[in-house]
């Protein structure tokens, strides 16, 4: 029901903004306002896109038994989530083996950044308040975007639920509480307010805590005959708090704006690897995070030809690390790192002709980092990005091209700053529909992008290298998408298949320089990736009231070290990259209850760049199931769901020596008011 409401609402908004009815919506939608596409079926965007994009809608996410963003992201094809296990365990995403630094994570349209490490822990985002998440390979077909949105090899977009009101409704919202195994307690609250006809506001808050002391079977070898012992994860507790408020203003038919305030804090233990004979006391390390940002967006449509928008963000983050059992003279290691980032962006869209449009954007980012360490480099980085882009659309043909220019200005309080860089990043993509009648499209894209060295890469004491070059990524993709319906019974079948070839040059790696305590960052190595992503989505109307939704993905990846033919690792598969992996989800919707099943699976991997038996990690499969029931109450619709996760109970490892929890249960009660 809510989806329908959303569509109607947005269509109305679009009509108002555009001033006329959108007849040829498939042609012109994204030329007018990027948001319009939300009104379409998600599958439409997935098949029309010139570069692979995959969407998980809020409804699908709720059927995934997903607590954290990382849980849902594992269902995208081509994605490898490095998951160290447990709620507090680090989770980073690598798309098509490019590495975490090549994927942007955007929250409501603006990038979440960490200039210290370059990688975002996607475990910290809960899915409680999420309308949809989208994975873009290459980039979005919408060219009316900030310059920064053109920069990286792929992007993961998180979109919060926007406030929607029926008729004379002034307040609505949702309250929920989740509980489960290993001490999970997760209450959340969301309230939307209609402040006036032009102004809406929302507030949401969430607490999540977990003891995380899950039992696991420790294997003292990969062979079946090797001994095992039953252990319990220690120092795996986590406490998170998220507070968020947003204001959305529809100032006129042509102008709208929004502002958002976000605060997040967490305290967690870092349980470390399950070290043989030392599981109980290996790690007492703790991590404290605090993050605050405020971001805003304003957009004005002058005419059918012209639109402009502005984005801005101010971000502060604080990280404290403590190892209280360090054997060095100080008896502990304690580090505090702080970061600030100020970001502004201006972009303009010019719709020159019916089918051809252009855009330009200019972004300025100022980032700084401090540490409590003496004589820490204390670096700052100014990044100027500008882009020009073009897009041509017809019923059968869609093409986009863009050229991004990036200039950095680096400085440091102590020592030499890193070298300034300037680079051009080209992108071109196209899709073609050979037949008017058949919903089949061929598509291809090429993108050359890079990731800048992080402040850790450049300035980490003893390790950092200030002369590092950016890490360069080239992507070639060719694919086919197909969409069909087979009458009333099968209203939807969508298939996408993409083959790709990636080359990563000047990889930034930590390289030893003489002994185990002395490493330095270097540009070293060449990696090529050949892969195939396939996704399938289908719906089946079993009866008028019983529906089955089904989705599956398959990924093949051959990610090879091509650095040096003389090295023992030449042509070996990158560590932790399965050749075969995939996912399946199915949900059965009836008027009484919904049942959802998900499967994640992976073939074998290697924990070392040298692929031999000693470093072989066996494959795994993770089956989960949930049952949900909705009840109308005088207060609103109440929903109760029960989830059973990892049904086989095996403590499989995504990262060696970091076992995942075995079978566990969660229960959730929510009420929409």
């Amino acid at each position: 029901m809510k989806v329908l409401r959303l569509r109607v609402f947005l269509l109305l908004m679009v009509e108002a903004a555009a001033g006329n009815r959108l007849v040829a919506q498939t042609v012109s939608d994204s030329l007018l306002l990027p948001e319009v596409v939300i009104t379409e079926r998600y599958a439409d965007r997935e098949i029309r896109s010139t570069a692979p994009l995959h969407i998980l809608s809020g409804k699908t996410i709720r059927n995934l038994q997903a607590l954290q963003l990382s849980d849902a992201v594992k269902h995208f094809p081509g994605v490898t989530v490095k998951d160290y296990g447990g709620i507090g365990g680090l989770k980073t995403v690598s798309v098509r083996s490019l590495g975490a630094g090549h994927t942007a994570v955007n929250y409501n349209g603006i990038a979440v950044t960490d200039v210290q490490t370059g990688q975002i822990d996607i475990g910290r985002f809960s899915l409680d308040n999420v309308e949809n998440i989208t994975l873009y390979n290459g980039q979005n077909d919408q060219i009316f975007m900030p310059a920064r949105a053109f920069a990286l090899a792929s992007a993961l977009n998180i979109q919060s639920v926007e406030p929607l009101f029926t008729d004379d409704e002034k307040v609505n919202g949702k309250a929920a509480v989740k509980g489960g195994s290993f001490g999970l307690f997760n209450p959340s609250f969301l309230m939307n307010l209609k402040l006036s006809d032009k102004l809406t506001g929302s507030f949401s808050g969430e607490w999540m805590s977990a003891g995380g002391a899950y039992p696991y079977l420790l294997h003292y070898g990969e062979a079946g005959t090797d001994s095992t012992s039953t252990e319990r994860r220690v120092n795996s507790d986590v406490k998170n708090l998220r507070l968020e408020t947003a204001l959305q203003a529809c100032l006129s038919e042509r102008s709208k704006g929004s502002v958002r305030f976000y605060y997040y804090q967490s305290e967690r233990g870092l349980p470390g690897a399950t070290i043989y004979y030392n599981t109980a006391n290996f790690s007492s390390q703790r991590l404290w995070d605090r993050n605050f940002f405020t971001q805003g967006h304003f957009e004005h449509t002058f005419s059918r030809q012209w639109a402009v928008q502005a984005h801005g963000k101010y971000n502060r983050s604080y990280l404290r690390y403590l190892d209280p059992t360090w054997l060095g003279a100080t008896g502990k290691i304690e580090d505090v790192f702080t970061q600030q980032e100020t970001y502004t962006s201006l972009s303009a869209l010019y719709r020159a002709f019916e089918r051809l449009s252009f855009s330009a954007a200019a972004d300025l980012t100022a980032a700084a980092m401090q540490s409590d360490r003496e004589r820490f480099a204390t670096p700052t980085r100014l990044t100027f990005q500008s882009v020009i882009a073009a897009k041509w659309v017809s019923e059968q043909f869609l093409t986009t091209a863009s050229l991004l220019y990036t200039q950095t200005v680096e400085s440091a309080r102590y020592g030499e700053p890193a070298e300034n860089r300037n680079k051009m990043s080209p992108y071109i993509s196209a899709s073609f529909k050979p037949s008017v009648d058949l919903d089949l499209r061929l598509r291809a894209f090429y993108k050359n992008s890079f990731r800048l060295p992080t402040f850790n890469d450049l300035y980490y004491p003893l390790v950092g290298m200030r002369q590092l070059l950016p890490e360069d990524a080239s992507q070639f993709n060719a694919g086919v998408t197909f969409n069909s319906t087979a009458g009333e019974v099968i209203p939807l079948v969508t298939v996408t298949a993409d083959a790709y070839h990636n080359r990563i040059k000047n990889k930034i790696v930590a390289y030893p320089t003489g002994n185990l305590h002395q490493w330095t960052m270097m540009n070293f190595g060449l990696v090529t990736v050949n892969g195939l992503d396939i996704s399938l989505e289908s719906a089946l109307n079993i009866t008028g009231t019983v529906h089955l939704l089904f989705g599956a993905t398959y990924t093949f990846q051959r990610a090879m070290d091509k650095t040096d033919p003389g090295k023992s690792t030449y042509n070996h598969q990158l560590p932790y990259t399965p050749r075969h992996s995939g996912s399946t989800r199915a949900s059965l919707e009836t008027v009484w209850f919904n049942i959802a099943y998900t499967l994640l699976w992976s073939g074998e991997r290697f924990s070392n760049a040298y692929n031999s038996d000693v470093y072989r990690l066996s494959g795994y499969s993770d089956h989960s199931i949930s049952v949900a029931k909705s009840l109308p109450t005088p207060l609103g619709v109440m929903q109760l769901s029960v989830e059973a996760l990892n049904l086989t109970g095996r403590n499989y490892e995504i990262v060696r020596n970091y076992p995942m929890p075995g079978r566990s249960y969660r229960m959730k009660l929510s009420i929409n008011f």
Binding site: A273, F282, P512
Partner: protein
């Protein structure tokens, strides 16, 4: 011929120690080095990866078991096996991150006892290097101690505090010499001393300043103690130092600027010399004549990028040099006494550290 002094050394050590302990497990086997039939190679593995391995390599058949300890004992060795010592019929392996001393029957590879090396709080003491003397095995640990293990009972029977983060250990004439590296205290300038511990009282007698970040300690047959000083990779360079047996004076041996691990055989020190960006070489130093025999032991042009460890077979004089990149499995190369490559064992394990000859 070349081994003559070595035999003499061995005899004198045995004469000094043979009557000390009736339970001394040193058997007839160890009176003289004999021809090795099998190599056991310890690989440290990568820290946090539980992948320290012991490799068994049969010299006549070429049969290799790259995970010998696990094959025999149905469990892995643990995390970061730093050092291995053969004493009597047993092998002692210091497993750093796991915090254990694994005591193994050398002939069968079976673990006899796993000695926990934990602090009061339960964390690992981080055992580093081993030495034997008079029926005891001594272990340096990064909790600034030396632990004494009775080799008859295989129980810890004493602990003594030394300097910061002790690494190398050597024992002679009832004195234990321990290199206090201060390696964990790198941010504040390391340690710079060698602790001298009396075997009988098991108390630290004194500290001798030798230079910033000392690593390995060995003693020649005359009682002179040699220390490789690593330096701080910054303003304080490394150097090869001698503590004179008679005067106790610390002397720098010229011509060896970046010494790392070294072993002593036949009163010759085989020293890995090199650092990042400078080619590694093995310098051979004659401890009796106190002259450098050669600055580059390898004579056939074989290059080794990063030399990680060195071992010498006392019987044959063969020198085993391991190469590492710290990430992927390293290579073991065997050179004859003239520095010519005899054979290579590629991808033997991550960070190959010690070779023992059986």
């Amino acid at each position: 011929m070349k081994n003559f002094f070595f035999y003499l050394t061995m005899f004198s050590v045995l004469l000094l120690t043979a009557c000390a302990d009736v339970n001394d497990p040193v058997g007839d086997d160890d009176l003289l080095p004999k021809e090795a039939k099998r190599l056991l190679i310890l690989n440290e593995g990568g820290m946090g990866h539980n992948n320290s391995t012991l490799v068994s390599y049969d010299l006549s058949s070429g049969t290799t078991d790259k995970d010998y300890f696990r094959t025999v004992n149905k469990r892995g060795l643990g995390d970061t096996g730093n050092d291995m010592l053969k004493y009597g019929s047993k092998l002692y392996i210091a497993v750093n991150v796991s915090g254990t001393i694994e005591v193994i029957d050398a002939a069968s590879g079976k673990s006899i006892r796993q000695i926990p090396m934990k602090t009061e709080g339960g964390a690992s003491k981080e055992p580093r290097q081993l030495a034997s003397y008079n029926g005891k095995v001594y272990v340096t640990s990064f909790d600034d101690t030396v632990t004494r293990i009775d080799t008859a009972t295989l129980m810890i029977d004493g602990t003594v505090a030394v300097g910061q983060d002790p690494e190398g250990i050597a024992i002679r004439n009832n004195r234990i010499y321990v290199a206090n590296s201060g390696g964990l205290n790198w941010a504040n300038g390391y340690d710079n001393s060698v602790s001298v511990v009396d075997v009988t009282t098991f108390r630290e007698e004194k500290k001798i300043v030798v230079g910033v970040n000392p690593g390995v300690v060995r003693i020649d047959s005359q009682g002179d103690t040699y220390v490789s000083v690593t330096g701080d990779y910054n303003t304080n360079p490394g150097g090869f130092r001698k503590i004179d047996a008679g005067t106790g004076a610390v002397v720098t041996i010229a011509g060896i600027d970046a010494p790392g691990k070294f072993v002593m055989a036949d009163n010759k020190a085989y020293i890995i010399n090199g650092s990042y960006g400078n080619p590694y070489s093995v310098v051979v130093f004659d401890c009796l004549s106190e002259q450098i025999v050669t600055e580059s032991f390898i004579t056939d042009g074989t290059t080794v990028n990063i030399m990680h460890s060195i071992s010498v077979d006392a019987f044959s004089g063969d020198v085993f040099i391991t190469e590492t990149d710290y990430i992927t499995p390293g290579t073991l190369r065997c050179f004859d006494i003239n520095g010519k490559l005899k054979y290579t064992l590629p991808a033997v394990g991550i960070n190959p550290s010690v070779v023992v000859f059986l």
